[in-house]
């Protein structure tokens, strides 16, 4: 088990290097360096530019520059944002918290809803309950996440039952700890629910199909033939086997959730990484784009890593491979 985990963690390292290198190449595609544009900006002093040029080795070839950047990343210096005039790491720290809160909230909710529904539909396979749920899931898969968010914002704006946009209300500063938490949660609801609705459909279908597949396997038929109660057959024999592939999917779902979250964040005005990277792109804030890409990638890789380790815990066959 320990060897498997160590192996798996070591595999991540070259991936992250490759990923950052590709992002670096992408950012350096256009001619000129990021600072040539800045020289025109009177707000930035010439010394700062010279200093940053030296720090990031911009007078050297791209590959060398990449190592400069890596060196700086290891000392937690992600560069300075050109449009905010503060260190990039400061900006990211602020927003990352919100994106993680949103993702965790919606992942939890999505799984909490779609797993039981998937099992229910699989048990009722062929009946109207299953057909109805599958049809709804089909619609859920096909509606773009940003459109769901728009519809929800529209509905909320009409009824004014929830605050729209931002993370806190005006009274936040004077509120007590618990009130603060409730207020944050209320603001989280719109983006959280949009993201959840967008994710339920596909997860539901996967769960249903997995469960159905397991229901037809010989060991379930044996269990039924032994005369076990149906609940035992479903929860002890089928569910445990049907849930395994879902753990792997959990890791890959993260990618979709991060991307979906970015769009939903922008539409619902939730100050997370999505908004940050969009603003960075619009203002061509290179180090901010680069750092957001890095953080997004690391989040994803970590998610996959966690999923792989979890599956090794759940399924001894994986461990021994």
């Amino acid at each position: 088990m320990r060897r498997y985990v160590i192996n798996r963690v070591l595999q991540v390292i070259p991936l992250i290097f490759g990923m950052t290198f590709i992002s670096f190449l992408i950012i350096h595609l256009p001619p000129g360096d990021p600072f040539s544009k800045l020289q025109m900006d009177p707000q930035i002093s010439r010394e700062t530019i010279q200093q940053m040029r030296k720090l990031f080795g911009l007078d050297k070839p791209v590959v060398v520059q990449y190592f400069y950047w890596i060196k700086n990343v290891f000392t937690f210096n992600l560069g300075t944002s050109f449009s905010y005039h503060v260190p990039v790491s400061f900006l990211i720290k602020q927003k990352l918290k919100n994106t993680i809160a949103l993702s965790v909230f919606s992942i939890f909710l999505t799984w909490f809803i779609s797993i039981p529904l998937g099992i229910f539909a699989a048990i009722k396979n062929g009946k109207w309950e299953e057909k109805f749920l599958s049809f709804i899931a089909y619609i859920g898969i096909s509606i773009p996440s940003f459109f769901i968010a728009m519809l929800i914002v529209f509905f909320v704006a009409k009824t004014a039952i929830l605050p729209i946009g931002g993370t806190t209300s005006i009274f936040y500063k004077s509120a007590t700890g618990f009130e603060k938490f409730i207020d944050y949660l209320k603001h989280l609801l719109i983006p959280g629910i949009s993201l959840t609705l967008a994710g339920i459909g596909s997860l539901f279908r996967l769960m249903k199909n997995n469960f159905l597949e397991c229901l037809n396997s010989p060991y379930v038929i044996t269990a039924k033939a032994k005369g076990l109660s149906m609940s035992k057959v479903y929860y002890k024999h089928t569910l445990r086997n049907a849930i395994n592939p879902m753990i792997t999917i959990f890791g890959y779902e993260l990618s979709g959730i991060l991307s979906g979250a970015a769009l939903v964040e922008i539409v619902t005005n939730w100050p997370g990484m999505g908004r940050l990277i969009l603003e960075a792109v619009l203002s061509q804030d290179f180090y901010l784009v680069m750092a957001s890409l890095l953080i997004g990638g690391i989040l994803l890789v970590t998610g996959n890593l966690i999923a792989d380790i979890l599956i090794a815990f759940a399924d001894p066959r994986v461990r021994l491979r």
Binding site: L15, S142, F147, F154, A157, L263, G296, G297
Partner: protein, 352 residues
């Protein structure tokens, strides 16, 4: 094609209907110049955010008209965006009305449109946007962008995926390991972040056609990786089949084996995968345009028509018809999903 349709009809009714809806949408996009009552950039200055025009059969006196008609509307309250109908005169809706000359697809010239209202009356089936442009017409023109990007993007990804997946699967060994690491790296990025970063590498202000090409390239760069992986897996198993080994034993050159024996056998799967991946491209385009990084005004795409709805609650609550392009995105995507499922059923011998 006929066999395909017949089989589709037999195995999966919904997919069959979806297929025809998709065909209908593409036809609307192609003949947008003829079908749309107004040009996409015509601003009706007196009708900002006008609601969808009501189509009547009965006039004020309760008299029935066989030919549906509309009333002229007037903006009476600017603050609350209220429009009132003027009952004094009716404007019948006519087929093949005369108007300004337009070119269909830049070839045929026509001065007649499919339908419209003559004189002072206006017909806005889906209302107008904040500049008073007809949303129905803009949706038809926008369909050209949104629907074509899916097809073109998928073809490029398909080509890249076949090439790299085929090489990787057939040759195996070090080539395979190297190519698959690259594929993995591409799959490691959250696709939306990668899309934005790629877009960031280019200037924000590009001409419409440049942006269009750029979006296609960006989307295919993101999409090829997963396809290549799938094809590699298929090629790996196909190359062990007896007929490939027989071909090799006969001394047929490698490129011919790959082109004639291996690749065609992956088609049953790739065609399904392709159909199911079209929505991803449509979504990608609309997301980019929605954020103002894609197709630029005044040219419409389904994505950029929705962008006024972001963070603009007044527009959203006063003019919910601005959300209609979103329903078209949804309709297209669900049809492609159904069609993909139908095609899979056709290729699945168990379902025959």
């Amino acid at each position: 094609m006929r066999i395909f349709l017949r089989r589709l009809k037999k195995t999966n009714k919904i997919s069959f209907i979806s297929f025809w809806i998709i065909v209908f949408l593409y036809l609307l996009a192609i003949f947008a110049d003829f079908v749309s009552p107004y040009p996409y950039d015509l601003q009706h200055r007196d009708y900002p955010m006008a609601p969808p025009t009501k189509i009547h059969f009965f006039d004020k006196e309760g008299k029935f008209h066989l030919r549906p008609f509309v009333y002229k509307t007037e903006l009476v309250n600017v603050a609350f965006n209220e429009y009132r109908e003027d009952y004094s005169k009716i404007y019948p809706i006519k087929l093949f009305v005369k108007g300004k000359k337009r070119k269909i697809l830049g070839i045929f010239e026509t001065d007649r449109y499919l339908f419209g209202v003559e004189g002072e009356g206006k017909i806005f089936l889906f209302g107008t946007d904040i500049h008073g442009r007809d949303i129905f017409s803009r949706i038809l023109y926008g369909a050209r962008i949104s629907l074509s990007i899916g097809i073109i993007g998928v073809s490029i990804s398909f080509f890249l995926g076949l090439l790299i997946g085929g090489i990787s699967g057939y040759f195996g060994g070090k080539v395979d390991a190297f190519l698959m690491r690259i594929v993995e790296i591409f799959m490691m990025f959250p696709s939306f972040y990668l899309m934005l970063a790629l877009r960031a590498a280019f200037p924000i202000n590009l001409s419409s056609i440049q942006v269009y090409l750029l979006i296609v390239v960006i989307l295919s760069l993101i999409g090829w990786a997963s396809l290549a992986r799938i094809i590699r897996g298929m090629v790996l198993s196909i190359k062990e089949e007896e007929y490939v080994q027989a071909a090799r034993a006969l001394g047929i050159p490698t490129y011919r084996i790959v082109l004639k024996h291996v690749i065609p056998n992956t088609f049953s799967y790739t065609i399904t995968a392709l159909t199911l991946s079209v929505p991803g491209y449509i979504l990608g385009e609309s997301a980019l345009s929605l954020l103002g990084l894609g197709i630029q005004e005044p040219y419409p795409s389904w994505g950029n028509m929705l962008s006024v709805c972001i963070g603009n609650l007044r527009v959203l609550t006063n003019a919910p018809w601005m959300l209609i392009p979103g329903f078209f995105i949804f309709l297209t995507i669900i049809c492609f999903n159904f069609l993909g499922d139908g095609i899979r059923d056709i290729f699945d011998p168990k379902k025959w």
